[in-house]
């Protein structure tokens, strides 16, 4: 075993336990140092996000990483949690399975929101903490580098992270941005103080919206919300005028009947001068009469419309899964091949050293017998010997690399050791 990990995610660890298990950056650094002290020569990286806590350990030869149950005990000790409690919810993997898991995590395939991109930054940060505390090494370094490369490939070669999945992001990116080129010259009107209003406004602000007006039946609530959102408040009695002046409306009132009927909208329309109007009616029941959406220049979207678009996007992401897993399989195979090949390095080194030693001895004997050889001739002969040795070594090295793709080539290594009398 060279690599090992234990961890739990939102799927396996209840929220209450996840909160206790979570590590801050400082706590993660302390845990890594403590691990290094307890298991000298091993490498480790700790990934802790709101949805997962995962501990990766690596080591070679005499310093193989501890088995997963010891890693669970270590985590339990670090966080002061009963080890039996953690053992039942944390899972462990070794070697190839551990690598495949990390690659899937970094690519967002194991995330709560499939394909979400924030995980890449979190993986980078986890690795950076390990590097800062000298607990990362060549094995974890290569593994995390490969994980980030895999995540990049999945992001560029599939559409996994392209489509948006939340109602506010879809409302702004897929619909409002389809109507308007820019938002910095548009008036945004928030009607009501529903939860999704602030979230939608966050996306609109990101798209450039500056001029935001909040109206609410309760004037005090509108003032409070406007102050919190950095907007200005308007009077609910001026709703017709505010609608006439608005370009984009986000409505989230708790009204039980539509607050904007078709008749009222006719009054609004006369003052708009033909400008298009996007209405994101996020209230349930709806705030705008559905017939308003059939008027020219009005783009009306209800929560159901936006949820259907989110669902279509989610299905689209799901369709990208096979392509993403194919990339992960390919990258895992490549990484494991390199890792296995790495284990052959000491034998190859000894083989080379042995041949070089023998070659040097033979050359010295030859040069003693032929003292008339000048420096140039000696150099030529030495180069010929080196080339000869390299050519003889080439086929076994190729066989070792080829065999490494399927796993550590123990059989070939043993054969080489016996054939060439290589001592450990």
């Amino acid at each position: 075993m060279t690599l090992a990990f234990v961890g739990g995610t939102h799927r396996t660890v209840p929220l209450a336990l996840r909160e206790r298990l979570a590590f801050s950056a400082e706590q993660a650094a302390e845990a890594l140092i403590r691990f290094r002290e307890r298991f000298p020569g091993r490498e480790c990286v700790l990934l802790s996000t709101c949805n997962r806590v995962e501990f990766y350990a690596a080591g070679e030869r005499a310093a193989v990483p501890p088995p997963p149950d010891q890693l669970v005990s270590f985590l339990a000790e670090c966080r002061g949690i009963d080890v039996t409690l953690l053992s039942s919810v944390l899972a462990g993997e070794r070697d190839e399975a551990a690598v495949r898991h990390l690659f899937s995590v970094a690519s967002g395939l194991d995330s709560m929101v499939l394909g979400e991109p924030q995980i890449v930054a979190q993986v980078k940060q986890a690795w950076a903490i390990a590097q800062d505390n000298n607990t990362s090494g060549p094995l974890t370094g290569e593994m995390f580098q490969a994980a980030l490369r895999t995540a990049k490939r999945v992001a560029t070669e599939t559409a996994l992270g392209r489509e948006r999945l939340s109602i506010p992001s879809v409302a702004v990116a897929d619909f409002a941005s389809g109507v308007f080129e820019r938002f910095d010259d548009k008036r945004v009107l928030l009607i009501g103080a529903g939860k999704m209003a602030a979230e939608t406004l966050r996306y609109l602000r990101g798209a450039g919206a500056r001029d935001v007006v909040v109206v609410n039946r309760t004037a005090g609530r509108a003032d409070e919300l406007a102050a919190r959102l950095g907007a200005r408040s308007g009077r609910f009695e001026d709703l017709v005028a505010e609608l006439s002046a608005a370009d984009l409306v986000v409505s989230t009132t708790g009204a039980t009947t539509p607050i904007v009927s078709s008749e009222l909208f006719e009054r609004v329309e006369s003052g708009r001068g033909g400008r298009p109007l996007v209405v994101l009616d996020l209230a349930v029941p709806r705030d705008f009469a559905p017939a308003i959406g059939e008027r020219p220049g009005v783009w009306l979207y209800s929560v159901d419309d936006l949820a259907a678009a989110c669902d279509a996007n989610r299905k689209s992401r799901q369709r990208e899964m096979p392509a993403a897993f194919s990339i992960i399989d390919e990258e895992t195979e490549r990484f494991m091949g390199d890792l296995h090949h790495r284990s052959t390095a000491p034998v190859i080194e000894r083989l080379r050293a042995g041949w070089s030693e023998t070659g040097d001895a033979e050359l010295d004997r030859l040069f003693r017998r032929l003292p008339a050889l000048d420096v140039a001739a000696r150099a030529e002969i030495r180069q010929a010997f080196d080339r000869y040795a390299a050519k003889l070594l080439h086929p076994p090295l190729v066989s070792l690399r080829s065999e490494s793709r399927a796993g550590a080539p123990h059989g070939l290594l043993d054969a080489l050791k016996r054939l060439f009398d290589l001592k450990d």
Binding site: E157, G178, V179, E181, R182, G274, P296, V298, A312
Partner: protein, 339 residues
């Protein structure tokens, strides 16, 4: 509009060829052979490059690829470079080029649109610009292929008016083509938004706001430039009559009629677009008008390609004195049989 020139080429007469022979030296003959050689290869070359770029664009709808964008830009850029070299080579060997023949007129229009395609694709890599623009580019190259390469007989006086006439017509045609694509995109985007569907993969279109702006602006530009092209054509006709270099185009000539119809249509479309701009359904009206304008332009070009005309035709009995005093700038090289 491009058909203006086409009419000339398609009805190239023996008399016109005779004018050319007056000053057809052996070096010009060698150059002409070179022109034929270069054009024979390069047109296929850059048309093929644009066609491959178009196939790459179309493949967006089928699968994703990390290298397609670069390949698309590389092929389009290679085509544009070959296209530019070809036009530049002709310009250095044909004094009146780039607007001296129907062939060059179409190729220059295609070149402007291909340059626009490359710029838009680099600036907006997720917008399938080529899917709509490259067929127009290839269509113009196809029109060039079947039109005459023979230059219009010109004098210094007519060359200026000919260049003005051709340039305005070129600008109008490009504006109509760009406006039609923007109009089509507006209708596609509005359809998606009305159906409440998320943006389809690989087909991210510009916003309705930008498309409406481009559509109405291009219709206005097309109307103005087409009118200017028509008026400069009238002046050119008068100069030709005075110099006796070309046959006077009568008012009832098909070219005059179709150009007048096109100008009238574009002016009406621009006025309607402007008058409905403050109405909620104004952008939709403009989108449809731009599409119809493109249809009218296409019909006009086809009429020009296959119809008979006196437009740009040398006089049956050239007035030798006038020709000599004016020193025609370009010699006809590729006389074609009467259709």
């Amino acid at each position: 509009m491009g058909g203006d020139g086409v009419g000339l080429g398609m009805v190239a007469s023996d008399e016109r060829f005779a004018i050319g022979r007056l000053q057809y030296s052996s070096s010009q003959r060698r150059d002409q052979g070179m022109i034929e050689f270069v054009s024979g290869i390069s047109v296929v070359c850059f048309a093929a490059s644009y066609a491959v770029a178009l196939v790459c664009e179309a493949s967006r709808l089928v699968f994703r690829s990390g290298v397609r964008g670069a390949a698309m830009i590389a092929f389009a850029a290679a085509g544009l470079v070959a296209h530019t070299i070809f036009l530049a080579w002709r310009a250095t060997h044909e004094p009146a080029v780039p607007l001296s023949s129907a062939f060059d007129w179409y190729l220059l229009a295609a070149w402007v649109l291909a340059g626009g395609y490359l710029w838009l694709t680099i600036a907006n890599p997720r917008t399938p610009v080529g899917l709509f623009l490259l067929p127009v580019v290839l269509g113009l190259i196809g029109a060039a292929h079947i039109s005459s390469r023979a230059p219009f007989p010109q004098s210094p006086a007519t060359q200026i008016w000919g260049a003005i006439h051709g340039s305005f017509n070129l600008a109008a045609s490009v504006a109509v083509a760009v406006g039609a694509i923007a109009g089509l995109w507006w209708l596609i985007q509005a359809g998606r938004l009305a159906r409440k569907e998320p943006s389809p993969r690989g087909l991210r279109l510009p916003s309705l706001e930008r498309l409406a702006h481009v559509t109405s602006r291009t219709l206005t530009i097309a109307a103005w430039t087409a009118a200017a092209g028509f008026l400069s054509g009238i002046v050119l006709n008068a100069v030709n009559r005075q110099r006796g270099l070309l046959e006077t185009v009568p008012w009832n000539d098909p070219v005059v009629l179709r150009m007048a119809a096109l100008v009238a249509w574009l002016v009406i479309a621009a006025v309607v677009t402007r008058s409905t701009s403050r109405r909620a359904d104004g952008p939709r009206t403009a989108a449809w008008l731009s599409l119809v304008s493109f249809g009218v332009l296409t019909a006009s070009i086809l009429w020009g390609l296959f119809g008979a005309t006196r437009h740009g035709v040398p006089p049956a009995r050239p007035q030798a004195a006038a020709v000599q005093s004016d020193q025609p700038a370009a010699a006809p090289a590729d006389p074609e049989p009467q259709p």
